[in-house]
Amino acid sequence: MYIVLSLAILMTMVLAIARALRGPTIYDRVLAVNLFGTKTALLLAVIAFLIDRPDFLDLALAYALINLVGILAVLQFIQMNPSKANEASDHD
Amino acid sequence: MKNKTESPKYTITVWQLLGTFLVLMTTWLLWSGLYKPLLISLGVFSCSLSLWLAQRTGFFRHALPIRSLLRLPALWWWLLIEVIKSSIEVARIILSPSLPIQPELVEFTTTEKTNSGKVILGNSITLSPGTVTIDVDEDRLLVHCLTSNTANELRSREVERRIEKLEIE
């Protein structure tokens, strides 16, 4: 049963990657990456129950923390370098 | 640094420091699970470091009084019901083949005075699917709504009233 749940989360991660590849703006990509990151934390928590190893919960917390800091850092970078951000979104 | 000039004086009570330290230390002990003198002293060290850093970034300037914190669960319970209602609506919109969205921007001035009140208001609005706070400027909030239905719900100002209740004596 946990397998079905983790497959559903994996499916959503694939959809998020599809959105990240499609763009069209840089913010769509960051949104997709954020979605991917929170789903990683969720997936790790589910895996902890799937293979019955509670240590994975600590990893889930670490991923949740890193995701937030990472997204804020990326946004800060984009705001500091608007020209580079535009380059990245024109690349599509 | 800009904020420092705006409100130069604020006092940190011993209780605030002690309470935060206790919360941090409990978290450390729960997560480490090993109770050796070396690890516990490392824990005390990193908790003190976090306290110092928090104090430097102005964490305690925006601290809520304890009676507001105790009233948070009531707000959370109400938010949970709102989240369930609006997520079912948003899910129905996403799954319907014609995508019946009518995005609407709602702008309103809030009566919240404190910064923490504004943060709680903005985050509560964002938390329920269908409404996202996209700009906060002084006491003006700009909210993006997915449908006119959710926009109307926002206009009833129910969230604001609930949050104001946190601060009443």
Binding site: T12 | V83, G122, H144
Partner: protein
């Protein structure tokens, strides 16, 4: 008896959580522009997170794991709106105007003339 009820309840929560995760992913792909996609993302970030974590807490029972799960859930729920706000505000500041009906000004002393689609 009570155990079976808890078990069934938690499985219902976990299943609907999975469904909501998928709907959010589909929404992120289907909705037409950035600001509407934010709503789909917040659907998985709040509703699905609550459902899946509460389901797992019921499975874990009264234990250290349940406490850890509750802390992770609280952290995710407190930070998700902050991240969405930072993202939406960054997009707004970069000059990306949401396609929407013009702003309705709620209070007379608010500034007018913001954001015409």
């Amino acid at each position: 008896m009570i155990n079976t009820v808890m078990d069934v309840l938690s499985w219902i929560l976990l299943c609907s959580g999975g469904v909501f995760v998928l709907i959010g992913g589909i929404g992120a792909l289907r909705l037409p522009n950035f600001y509407t996609r934010l709503h789909a993302a917040s659907l998985t970030e709040t509703m699905a997170t609550i459902l899946i974590f509460v389901g797992m807490i019921l499975q874990a029972g009264f234990s250290l794991e349940a406490l850890k799960l509750a802390v992770i859930m609280l952290f995710l729920l407190l930070t998700a709106p902050t991240a969405s706000y930072a993202l939406a505000n960054a997009a707004l500041q970069s000059g990306m105007r949401p396609k929407a009906e013009s702003a309705k000004v709620e209070s007379p002393n608010a500034q007018t003339g913001n954001s015409e689609s």
